[in-house]
């Protein structure tokens, strides 16, 4: 099957103003098939957004690619020049963001911004734009309105229209519902599902909300400290999580509580990238830690369709 996106052993490092450079992504492997959706879940600071921006090749100036490959439609794009990659952005892969209000230019109307995204000239650009605006649930008058005249949900819909106007194969959604309230967020998620079906879209859905991820995607990748620690189908994640981190995340879901239960949290916090613990980076918070966890890093072990990185399931050590 054609893969829309494949990331192989991607390593990205961060170069601070002072001090040594720090690895943010440490060998990320991912793939999104055609018309599939993959959710990338994890705590803040685990490297989700960096992964997304790496795929768009829009890393901040102080971050660098170290190693690895990114394939879009089975084409390696790592060595493409900026000019060539620009043709891919918006056409093969596009992106929507967390805070729609700040990602729309305040000085132009919503319509002109969607119109601007259209690649190539050709007649009927405006009609196409208005049709797509209708499709994402907006009235025609939105075309002539400025971003500050729209609500957050409407702004996000404009962003979605902008991202989809050139029929890209892959949409990266970087926490598209974080800035919205729950009912609006629900509407956006439903819209994204509908768009996937209608346009045969593949989706890389980034979220910190594991229940949203389960609700939305076929496959879920759980990220921790710049690594994917578990990749599995949505059902497996929810019902039989393998990695201790996933297990703890899932057990924190409100759906699992009985009345009177205390709210559960995961002790500790995401480790500092500058000072990662030796061995498995999750071991300080892990209830199952063994002696080997302190020394070695677990490698990717296959489990069914997915993978897991934990010594609970074998002694495969990361090379």
């Amino acid at each position: 099957m054609e893969k829309m996106l494949e990331i192989k052993k991607l390593e990205v490092s961060f170069r601070p103003a002072v001090g040594e450079s720090v690895k943010i992504l440490r060998g990320v492997n991912l793939s999104v098939g055609k018309n599939e959706s993959l959710a990338l879940a994890g705590e803040s600071g685990s490297g989700k957004t960096v992964t997304a921006r790496a795929v768009m090749k829009l890393l901040p100036n102080n971050m660098n690619f170290e190693k690895g490959e990114i394939l879009i439609r089975d084409r390696n794009v790592m060595n493409l020049k900026e000019q060539e990659f620009r043709k891919i952005r918006g056409k093969d892969v596009s992106m929507i963001f967390q805070e729609p209000s700040s990602y729309l230019n305040p000085v132009f109307t919503a319509g002109s911004q969607v119109l601007e995204a259209v690649k190539g000239d050709g007649p009927g650009r405006k009609e196409r734009t208005i049709k797509l605006l209708n499709e994402v649930g907006l009235k025609e008058n939105v075309f002539y309105q400025y971003p500050h005249q729209l609500s957050g949900g409407m702004q996000q819909r404009v962003m979605i229209a902008m991202a989809l106007i050139n029929n890209p194969g892959l949409l990266i959604a970087d926490e598209p519902t974080t800035a919205l309230d729950v009912t609006t967020a629900y509407g956006i998620v439903e819209l994204l599902k509908e768009m996937m079906e209608k346009h045969g879209l593949s989706m890389l859905f980034i979220t910190h909300d594991i229940s949203l991820a389960v609700n939305f995607a076929n496959m879920i990748a759980v990220m921790y400290a710049g690594r994917i620690v578990e990749l599995a189908g949505a059902g497996e994640i929810l019902n039989s999580p393998l990695h201790p981190y996933t297990e703890m995340l899932v057990s924190c879901l409100p759906e699992k509580y009985k009345s009177g239960d205390k709210i559960k949290t995961i002790e500790g916090k995401v480790p500092d990238f500058r000072d990662l613990p030796k061995g498995c980076s999750f071991h300080p918070r892990c209830p199952y830690k063994k002696e080997i966890c302190l020394r070695e890093e677990p490698g990717e072990m296959k489990r069914g369709e997915g993978i897991v990185r934990c010594f609970k399931y074998g002694d495969f050590v990361e090379a």
Partner: protein
């Protein structure tokens, strides 16, 4: 635009007045050929340094419905002494006949907006050493002095915006190179750089050539400081999320800069634009004052003033020759007030 004018009117009365005053000046500069009662180079040798003739309505205790001027009596031609000859009365006519000239390049006509016909003379601002009407020359000179500011500012702003935008957006080596270039230009004192650039070109150019030369020289000097400020603003604007979004749509760098970054600097640039127009007017005046600008007989406010420099007889005996200076003063002040007003109104914090 309408809203903008309304806000300007309420926020800052004086800059609103300045705006209309400037529009009025530009209008009369545009219509100079038609409004001025004489061609700018028409010499009346016998009326050299004649004081302004006042339009009158009273004669012998009676009111005349049509304004008129008295005839000018030459008392002493050697010392340019004149007196009003109350026995001769010349009514001021609208669309009066005069010397034939071509309007707007194709319209041949001998009609002027107002005048006294063939017999009498009307010198509203007096005459200069060659007996040319200062009023007509001020109107024609306004064309040079007012347009040099607008054209010069446009050129230097396009340069400044582009260099500043590119420098701030790309950063790195591009930034270092462009900014060092800017610093080299800024290092030279403005006035000496202007003189040096002017001196690099041959002195015997036609008026039109000199005009363009001055515009280019002034704008080549003016863009540097703007480019630096724009660069600083671009450095912060390029981190805006909507710039990232625009890039994620695959827009070209040029488009991202011109459409998504530079408009963010406009509240500053529009203000800076109006505030720097006076610099160009004064620059042209300074060059002309030194005889390096617009050449006689074509008038500019600067070269009309240059005649008065160091000439005590003119300063004491013919102060009307300094009227172009008054116009420079009023224009510069009006532009400054306008710029001030726009700055207040364009700043969203003051709405």
């Amino acid at each position: 635009m309408k809203k903008f004018l309304k806000r300007l009117k309420h926020a800052n009365r004086i800059s609103f007045i300045s705006l209309w005053f400037l529009l009025f000046l530009y209008l009369i500069a545009f219509l100079a050929d038609f409004i001025s009662p004489y061609p700018y180079d028409l010499q009346n040798r016998e009326y050299a340094l004649c004081p302004p003739t006042a339009p009158r309505v009273f004669h012998d205790g009676r009111v005349s419905l049509r304004p008129f001027v008295y005839g000018i009596e030459i008392v002493n031609p050697a010392f340019q002494e004149y007196a009003a000859d109350t026995s001769r009365i010349y009514p001021i006519r609208l669309f009066a006949k005069g010397t034939e000239r071509t309007l707007a390049g194709f319209l041949k006509t001998d009609r002027y907006l107002f005048g006294t016909g063939d017999e009498g003379k009307i010198f509203l601002f007096g005459t200069d050493l060659h007996g040319r009407d200062v009023f007509s020359r001020v109107l024609h000179g306004a064309r040079i002095s007012l347009s040099i500011g607008i054209i010069g500012v446009s050129i230097s702003f396009i340069l400044g915006l582009l260099v500043g935008g590119v420098s701030g957006y790309f950063g790195g080596k591009t930034d270092v190179f462009l900014m060092r270039m800017v610093e080299i230009i800024m290092m030279f004192p403005f006035f000496y750089l202007m003189l040096a650039l002017r001196a690099a070109f041959p002195p015997n150019l036609s008026s039109v050539q000199v005009y363009f030369l001055i515009v280019v020289i002034l704008s080549l000097i003016g863009w540097a400081s703007l480019a630096r400020i724009i660069r600083g603003m671009v450095l912060s604007l390029k981190e805006e999320e909507y710039v990232l979004a625009a890039r994620s749509l695959g827009l070209s760098s040029f488009r991202v800069i011109t459409r998504h970054i530079l408009p963010g600097t406009f509240s500053y640039t529009v203000t800076a634009l109006t505030l720097s127009v006076p610099g160009y007017i004064l620059g042209e005046s300074a060059l002309s004052l030194l005889g390096l600008g617009i050449q006689e007989p074509y008038p500019s406010w600067g070269n009309m003033l240059s005649v008065t420099v160091g000439n005590l007889r003119i300063l004491t005996g013919a102060p009307w020759m300094m009227i172009p200076g008054l116009f420079i003063f009023l224009t510069v002040i009006a532009f400054n007030f306008l710029g001030d007003g726009i700055r207040n109104v364009a700043d969203p914090k003051n709405w």
